[in-house]
């Protein structure tokens, strides 16, 4: 987003000396706003003004990285309030909390094992947050050693004690952990630590005002690899703070809030913990730190994240190919649809509620729906016949009967010729499948 004429004009000398080739400073400001001139053309712009203009032209939220090598996680660099306006760029980093008083070997083993596969996508926990719960610097350092040896995950080091942080950071500096946190008392030392090890630094306020003040002080110390925490922990307040941080950064280009954000859950009960994490993930947190390390809790959270951070401009796709629903066997019916996720899921939902084990053949239509793909020549007798071949369907089932969507009933003849299969025309809408299946296959 460019700068407005008024913003530029305010930074110009306002002498109307015409050196730039424009009759007035105002005209020059408008030319700049239009992208038709360059600031260098004015010989009298101060360095200060140049800097102010450059920083105002920077993206609203800075990208900050945590981690090293191929484990780097990018955060920030968001430009939207609503997902549907463009897209959210960087999925929230899901982070599980461990304490330096825990049985770390056991806990890290559990967390390392937290990988999930769902609809062809793999997820795993992005980071662990190591908390200096003991309050003891030596213990924290020892815990950092254990973390170093037992997991390759990225790390958030959680301690507001600078001595403890220094020790742990020495151990883990190469991982480029997030240093959590600089507060109003320790910020000078914390900033120095983070800066010297080139690690991102979390800034913790007591509310939005003190957060903004603290950020300015740290920026004045020359460090900008920051992550924001307003300090709030009640669900409603955190939602408000995360919303304000995002809005002020994107809409007002408020520099102090132009960084990624971190939110901590505050519940002991793992289910309630999950609910809070769900709220923060929905509304703008770049990192969510939660306590539960149960697969059954994290799977829904990862699924929501995967959905929320898709690009609304691109139709969501599922893996093309053959999908078995229930204990499908050689006698199971075969339905054919596209790989547009919404079509596929509708069909899948209806087919599974028939309780008749079945196959769904999802033809690669580049994520477009049945009618669009048909119009586009992606969902044709040839492409369906090719999918039957390439998925080895002929070896999976004994019969040669395939159900196609009622919307493309016209394909029946040509598909039969092309594939040698018998084609049954199914219902026009997925909602008709239950009745259809009951009549045909029950």
């Amino acid at each position: 987003m460019g700068l407005s004429g008024l913003e530029i004009f305010k930074q110009l000398p306002k002498t109307n000396c015409k050196e730039c080739g424009y009759p007035t400073c105002l005209a020059f400001a408008m030319a700049l706003a239009n992208g038709k001139a360059s600031l260098d053309a004015c010989p009298d712009v101060t360095e200060e003004a140049k800097e102010a203009l450059a920083s105002a032209a920077a993206p609203p939220i800075k990208m900050v990285k945590v981690g090293a090598g191929d484990r780097v996680i990018e955060m920030g660099d968001e430009t939207e309030i609503f997902r549907h306006d463009k897209r959210f760029n960087h999925p929230t980093a899901v982070t599980v909390e461990v304490k330096d008083t825990d049985d770390l070997d056991a806990r890290l083993a559990v967390i390392n094992d937290l990988t999930f596969e769902r609809v062809g996508q793999e997820y795993s926990v992005d980071m662990i947050a190591l908390v200096n719960a003991s309050g003891d610097a030596g213990k924290f350092k020892a815990a950092a050693e254990t973390v170093k040896g037992k997991t390759e995950k990225n790390v958030v080091l959680v301690s507001e004690d600078t001595a403890a942080m220094e020790g742990a950071l020495d151990v883990l500096a190469e991982r480029k952990p997030l240093v959590y946190a600089a507060n109003k008392d320790n910020f000078e030392k914390m900033t120095e630590l983070a800066k010297s090890k080139e690690c991102p630094l979390a800034v913790k306020g007591e509310d939005l005002n003190s957060l903004a003040e603290l950020v300015d002080k740290i920026v004045a110390l020359g460090y900008k690899e920051l992550v924001l925490d307003s300090g709030s922990r009640e669900t409603s307040k955190v939602l408000a703070d995360l919303t304000q941080i995002r809005r002020l950064a994107v809409r007002k280009k408020f520099r102090a809030f132009g960084y990624p954000s971190i939110a901590f859950t505050s519940k002991d009960d793992p289910q309630e913990d999950l609910m809070q994490a769900g709220v923060y993930l929905s509304k703008y947190a770049s990192i969510v730190v939660l306590k539960t390390d149960k697969k059954e809790h994290l799977l829904p959270l990862f699924s929501w994240r995967a959905n929320l951070f898709t690009d609304p401009q691109k139709p969501a796709q599922v893996q093309p190919g053959l999908h078995a629903i229930g204990d499908a066997d050689e006698n199971s019916p075969v339905y054919c649809t596209t790989n547009f996720s919404l079509s596929f899921y509708l069909v899948e939902g209806e087919v599974s509620s028939t309780r008749i084990p079945s196959y769904i053949l999802s033809v690669d239509t580049n994520g477009t729906s049945v009618l669009t793909a048909y119009a586009d020549n992606r969902y044709t007798a040839e492409s369906i016949a090719a999918a039957i071949k390439s998925t080895g369907l002929e070896d999976k089932v004994k019969h040669k009967n395939i159900v196609i969507p009622g919307l493309v009933a016209v394909l029946k003849g040509s598909l039969e010729d092309e594939s040698g299969w018998d084609v049954t025309v199914g219902p026009r809408e997925a909602s008709g499948i239950t009745k259809f299946a009951k009549e045909k296959f029950a």
Binding site: F82, R83, H84, T115, F116, R118, V119, L208, N209, A212, E213, D216, E234, T235, S236, K237, L239, A240, T243, Q244, L248, R251, K252, F254, A256, Q271, E272, L274, M275, Q276, G278, V279, S282, K283, K294, K295, E296, H297, L298, L299, P300, L301, S303, W304, A306, N307, L308, T310, P312, A316, S341, L342, Y345, E348, G349, S352, S353, R355, K435, K438
Partner: protein, 325 residues
């Protein structure tokens, strides 16, 4: 430096819809429930009013829900055999704000229960609980059109929330609502344009119905396209706050219905070891779906598992706490 809090000024607010009717109002409910009325995005108390918290309706069927996973059935026990006892349990034990009565048994392929059968069930449920009711048919158009009139008539004045009016089939439900003083669920297939048009069609039958419509934008479950529903809801709500009166209705989501047919809710852990315990996972799936939809502006959540209901209601309580600056 003081941060200048950014408060949006919207032109309009969500319509407030009253569900149920007390004795004075011509019904028999012990209290009514208001939904909608907010003048800001979900839970942003710092810039607008959220006069009515979102509410949770629990689903009750007229027949035993054979197809539900065992852990879901176990949560209710024997009550599932008796709609009145089932509804009572939902309200008294599980804190349901409303009951959503679904006439599954009316399905010609299930029990083909008649309008009279449905009315008998409706009466026992109305007697068993004092909360307002949502009523769904079996999902088969012809049958639902045939039973909705008699059901509406039998409960005249109760201000039921009647489901569902669709673009190609809204007249029978809207007429029943008009004639017998009920409210209407206007359902559109994940399509904001149809959602808007349907409200216009209904209002052309009767303008006062505009304040008795609840939009069902059709929600998808977590992992099954929920992001489409989420964005449509956000757009509709944003439009409503900016003056689009034809999208300014409260919204309802059939969460339980969508979630509990998905394999994440019933596949046992030994088949998908990576997915964790089935019982816990299934209710988490329902609860997280609901939590996400709340953030897009959902006003009424229709749910099934008591523990998921509890978690979601607690989340609503927390989010209703003032967060003004």
């Amino acid at each position: 430096m003081a941060v200048e809090i950014l408060k949006e000024k919207y032109r309009s607010q969500v319509r407030e819809v009253v569900l149920g009717a007390t004795k004075d109002e011509g019904g028999t409910r012990s209290a009514t429930i208001k939904v909608g009325g907010e003048s800001t995005l979900p839970f942003l108390h710092f810039e607008g009013e959220v006069p009515n918290p979102p509410v949770v309706a629990m689903e009750v069927w007229d027949i035993f829900p054979e197809e539900w996973p065992q852990n879901l059935k176990d949560a209710f026990g024997d009550a599932l055999n008796d709609p009145a006892a089932w509804a009572k349990k939902c309200v008294e034990e599980f804190g349901a704000d409303l009951i959503a009565l679904r006439f599954k048994g009316a399905d010609p392929d299930v029990k083909d229960a008649s309008a009279e059968d449905c009315i008998a069930v409706l009466k026992t449920v109305l007697e068993a609980v004092g909360v307002p009711l949502i009523v769904y048919g079996c999902g088969k158009l012809e049958k639902d059109n045939a039973i909705i009139g008699p059901i509406g008539e039998a409960a005249e004045g109760e201000n039921l929330l009647l489901g569902v009016a669709e673009q190609e089939n809204y007249k029978s439900v809207a007429s029943a609502a008009m004639a017998y003083k009920h409210s209407v669920i206007a359902q559109s297939p994940i399509d904001i344009n149809i959602a808007k048009q349907l409200n216009i069609l209904i209002s052309e039958m009767s303008t006062p119905l505009l304040d008795r419509i609840v939009i069902d934008p059709t929600i998808a479950a977590l992992g099954y396209g929920i992001e489409y529903s989420y964005s449509i809801m956000e757009r509709a709500r944003f439009g409503a706050l900016n003056g689009d009166r034809m999208l300014g209705m409260p919204m309802i989501g059939n969460v339980g219905h969508e979630v509990w047919s998905k394999k994440e809710t019933f596949i046992p852990v030994d088949e998908e070891p990576g997915w964790g315990d089935q019982a816990e996972r299934s209710l988490a799936w329902e609860a997280v779906t609901a939590i996400a939809l709340l953030q897009a502006g959902m006003n009424i959540l229709v749910m099934r598992h008591p523990q998921a209901v509890k978690l979601v209601k607690q989340n609503i309580d927390e989010l209703m706490q003032d967060n003004s600056y």
